[in-house]
Amino acid sequence: MKTATNKTHNASMLAVAIPASTILILLVIVSIGAEWIAPYDPLKQSLREALQSPSPAHWLGTDNLGRDVLSRLIFGGRIALISSLEATLIAVVLGVPLGLFIGYRGGWWDWAVMRLVEAVVSIPGIMVAIVIIAILGPGLHRAMIALGILYSTAFLRLARSVVLAEREEVYVKAARVIGASSNRILLRHILPNIAPPLIIQVTLTIGAVLLAEAGLSFVGLGVQPPGASWGTMLNTAATYMALNAFLAVPPGLAIVITVLSVNLLGDVLRDSVGRGIAISVKPTTPTAKFAESTTTSQPKADDILHIQGLQVVVNSKDGSEFPVITDLSFSIKKGETLGLVGESGCGKTITGLSILGLIGTGGRVTHGTINLNNTELTSFSTQQMEQIRGDEVAMVFQDPTTSLNPAFTVGDQIAEVLRVKQGMTKKQAWARAVELIDRVGITRPAERAKAYPHELSGGMAQRIAIARALSCNPKLLIADEPTTALDVTIQQEILDLFRDLQDEFGMAILFVTHDLAVAADICDRVCVMYAGELVEMANVDELFAAPRHPYTAGLLSAMPHASDRKPPLPTIKGTVPVPKLWPTGCRFSERCDYSQKACEQLITLTGTTSQVRCIRANEINMGASI
């Protein structure tokens, strides 16, 4: 997926970079050869030919003094080029060494210079330039010195920040610890680190200087008449606008095209820095076939959720789709806790999100049914899903610090749901939110409701998230690794809270986790997922006592036991294959000690109350691991 992205990205980058650099190279060539290329002397006046429209003799017409516009445009390009390079060079020469110096020295020097920079930056740039021109007097080179001084502040800050960042690097700190001179190390690492942002800043500055020079010349503080520059040409154009409006077009377009080229080139540079060079590898097209569910079962009366033959695909950046979940079927009874376990990348979270219809624009459900409380969800519209979410099914996410909105108080976030979904008044909703916060075991709830998420600990934030999820009394709660991001001591408290709340609210829980110990603690039944499909499902005691799929057995044996201190802890060799590289047969076969030739064929799920997707499940004895 990544290589394909880089490829299309590189192509579009080249589509921008090539014309932009061609234009700039042309500008350089024309500027150098202005004397030979320009058809006329840019200063030669001919009042009889004043203010002419474009003609074969004067391709772009003439100005108020009968001077050839094309020739003035070409010489103006030379001015634009020289002046922008001059000001940028001054800015680099002034800004970089000073920035490096104060970065090194720190302390008082740093403080004083930075306050000075802040002061200069707080005055509008054009005004700083005007003031410097007041001191130096008008004229192109003086104006460029003014702009150079102005833009040196950007280079100063850039150089300083590179030094400061480098100071914090581990190897510099390490050198300091062993007593080596950190300055020498710093110096050696500054150059490679400062070069990329410096190049980008140079392009930005050239563009900005081009515009500023044109502006200053336009108001008569830069290039002085009769000298030809794009800014002075526009000044003339503004004066004679009513007589010949075309005069404004050539110099204006010249500025726009040049600045646009410089800026676009800068954008391309910025995008390519840090991205590295893309390695082009042909994207593999999925050839694997997927097991279609053989039986279609109907939801039972006490099922709150019934998923049948679910397949979910996501888009890759090259436009093709590939499946991330195939042939997934399971159901959850009212008040039951079903565990969904497996390693990262097995499709557990996507399963939870597809129940909510929140896979996002990059994916969709292609096969199967999701039946929630006797309502089929896969055909629902967005509005219908919005009705269901919160009221019927809610979700608690992995990281409470990122799943709560940092810009609103936690009480506000719960109360908003109550107002929107339950039609409560502001006052009612707030009172209920405080009650819920109290219910999830947070002391001083009225006070904590007014806190922002960043003011709460992770455990407390997760309690808030749980309170919000339960605010509308959903029949199903999807808990996506709700304890993974928390401290071990907090984990147990949160698990206890889930149990208590289930007793009180009576909701069913789909508990997604990679941690079998957590699943053993809280779940009634467990579904084991591997590479987008269900490989085993059983009651929790049964599964832990006698795992039937080699993957389940592997997961169990990789669990650390407090009583068992024999190193090393066994692990499952290899990693979960990425969705595009799933084999046709058993997806676990590459990592499995028991795999055979027959495992290369499509394997179906067998069994009724407990199920397993392994052709050798009955012949091999995985053994109990607990």
């Binding site: 409006a245 404004a248 204006g252 909510l356 990122t402 799943s403 940092p406 979904k421």
Partner: protein
Amino acid sequence: MLRLIGQRLISLIPLLFIVSVLTFSFTALLPGDPVDLIIGDEGTAEQYEMVRERLGMNVPIVTRYFQWLGRAAQGDLGTSFFNSVPVMDAVMQRLPVTISLTAVSALIAVIVGMAAGIAAALNPRSWIDRLATFGATLGQAIPNFWFGILLVAFFAVSLRWFPATGFTPISTSPWEWLRSVTLPALALGLSSSAAIARQVRSAMVGVLQQDYIRAARAQGLSRRRVVFKHVLKNALIPVVAVLSFQITILLGGALIVEQVFAINGLGSLAISAVRQQDIPMIQGIVLVSVFIVVAIQLTTDMIYGFLNPKARPS
């Protein structure tokens, strides 16, 4: 919030001090003798001494700085070298013109930039997104004064919808004021619209990917509500941070755009002051602009603190 204002005000003291020192030191940095400028070539030695005395140039420079600062604090910025008009009066007469131009263009920039940025972020990689991104890139490459010339050529000279030049104060006629300020404000606001659009788009795209947006949707809140409440409040944080910077740029840009429309704002005052080396006038204009910039920064800091609870001192 009061604490935030207090903290910001205290941190402004060194800034204002440095700016005042910089501004004052123009006098010392200027080439040539201002006294010569005033009395001209035919001045006698007595006239010279008299002017020196009047300008207070016979006392040490540090004393002069504090005298100048003390008077400035009371609103006395001295008198112009050239027409003996009090600088404060001249600046205050021009200031409303430049401020109304800057304010209207900032409003245009915020409205256009936000609309384009939001539309682009909500439809990534669509034609809207491409158009907005291209427009933003182009907008930042177009010189504001050239855009002004084009607007005048089209809407004022050809279509005659707007006056080509001049400025009507809002107190004289709100309608005429609007007519006179529209074209220059559009010209001035273009590049800031582009910058804000870019900022809004990238901030929105970033926030849309956050867990808390998905969590809000998982609670059954509608897309519209989530976008315009949950996303926008977070996405506005970086936008507000660039806004004060953009307004500073607009204030500077106004000085140039005013010239296209022959508007007598601070721009023409500053340019003629530079040409005549009218030191008190330049000092006054710079000081007043810095005050305005500082006021804008304070305001945007308040908005920032309102939007971003993490920025509030606890």
